[in-house]
């Protein structure tokens, strides 16, 4: 594993200040601004998954809290050869945002199976080095009868006692039995192994369609967890427009999820028998 750590600000080829850069098994993580995290600190993940719950909820938090872009993750090995342009500026496919005690990582593209393990390891390692108190993974859990559910339920699991205490105070049910498949599954296992706190929020969601209503339920929990007011009215009002505009991301995410045998999530684990 190849690593390059820097304590002093560096400059990249375009003269942009890099406060931190690290190469990790074909991936490069970098910070373009100095990050001073308040405590307790959270790293929220917005990697595309079932119902795009994580993508929609974390993008909304970034906008609602007016978070500042402070870095990103890129890879010539694992990501397609693309540059995302936002407000006229080139951006990496995976971006990092910061405000107060919260970092958010959002990916514009689904994480391909080959990239899942290195990205999961990178995220847990980065969280450990930054002294993050809790990695928060908002995960959509596909339910086949979603059209009959008006208000999706949210469940949780955690790798730490501290995480459990936070969630128990919020009065949400614990996720008792089931499989998780995909990047969040590897992050959860790796966090447990490295003794990093990972709180996973599971929201009932459509498997094949974007689900902003499930994202709203996750945001309700996140606002209590972060102790910040998040006005969810605009998200509810724009829910249909978001579904329309995220069709392509959902389609490519669904292809990846199918490849990962996401059907496992609807199976009953052996120990429950």
């Amino acid at each position: 594993m190849e690593k390059l750590l820097s304590q002093e600000p560096l400059y990249d080829i375009l003269g942009v200040i890099m406060y931190y850069t690290e190469e990790y098994d074909g991936l490069t993580i970098f910070e373009t601004k100095e990050i001073k995290l308040k405590t307790p600190s959270y790293l929220m993940l917005g990697l595309p998954d079932t119902g795009l719950v994580a993508s929609i909820s974390t993008s909304y938090i970034v906008d609602a809290l007016k978070m500042e872009e402070v870095g990103g993750v890129d890879s010539y090995r694992y990501f397609p050869p693309i540059t995302v342009i936002h407000n006229g500026e080139p951006k990496p496919p995976l971006r990092i945002f910061h405000k107060d005690n919260t970092l958010v990582m959002i990916s514009e593209i689904p994480i391909s199976p080959a990239a899942i393990h290195p990205i999961a390891f990178l995220i847990v390692d980065y969280a450990r080095k930054k002294g993050i108190d809790h990695i928060v993974s908002p995960v959509g859990i596909g339910v086949p009868n979603r059209v009959n559910i008006e208000k999706p339920s949210v469940y949780w699991t955690s790798t730490s006692k501290e995480g459990e205490e936070i969630m128990e105070k919020l009065g949400i049910k614990k996720f008792q039995e089931g499989f998780i498949v995909g990047p969040y599954a590897i992050i959860l296992k790796e966090a447990k192994r490295k003794r990093v706190s990972n709180i996973v929020l599971f929201a009932e969601a459509f498997v094949e369609f974007p689900d902003p209503a499930a994202a709203v339920e996750v945001l309700n929990v996140l606002s209590k967890m972060l102790n910040v007011q998040i006005n969810l009215k605009p998200l509810l009002e724009k829910a249909e427009e978001i579904r329309l505009k995220t069709r392509e991301l959902m389609l490519s995410t669904k292809k990846v999820l199918d490849r990962l045998r996401k059907g496992y999530e609807r199976q009953l684990p052996l120990m429950y028998v």
């Binding site: 397609p80 990239a115 249909e240 389609l251």
Partner: protein
């Protein structure tokens, strides 16, 4: 006797189809391993049509096409079943323009359009529609043809 022969033929076709799907999956996995990416597809037509997300499920006696139609006016929904295809059209509640997206900046999107091809045993003339208006989702239930 005829039935068992027909069933046998069908089974062979199913095996071939599964084999083809498996080869396709393996091939995609190899490409993914080397390139680490997936084929991306645009769902915005320059003629102002949008392709909706769909999911096709199969049971013993029917096919169910689930169609996500956000911002659609379901009163304008039109479904046509012909041969073994189902054509879905539905107008949007309002026009959509994305002027900052230079690729489609001059296009006004007004309608969803999608043609779904089903296997030969789909009796597309006898489809039924179930609407979930609060989600803007519809289900098109297509029975399978009765087998002798």
């Amino acid at each position: 006797m005829f039935e068992s022969r027909r069933r046998k033929r069908r089974d062979i076709f199913e095996i071939i189809r599964e084999f083809e799907e498996e080869i396709e999956r393996e091939f995609e996995e190899i490409i993914d391993r080397f390139l680490g990416q997936y084929e991306a597809k645009s769902m915005w037509g320059s003629d102002g049509t949008l392709e909706p997300l769909i999911e096709v499920k199969e049971t013993d006696n029917k096919y169910v096409i689930i169609v996500d139609l956000p911002l659609a006016n379901l009163k304008t929904l039109s479904i046509t079943g012909k041969y073994n295809t189902v054509e879905i059209r539905c107008q949007l509640k309002k026009d959509i323009r994305l002027d900052r997206w230079i690729i489609q900046r001059q296009t006004t999107f007004r309608e969803y359009r999608k043609t779904v091809m089903l296997p030969e045993d789909a009796d597309v003339a006898k489809f039924q529609v179930r609407k979930y208006e609060n989600f803007s989702i519809i289900e098109i239930i297509v029975p399978k043809k009765f087998r002798l």
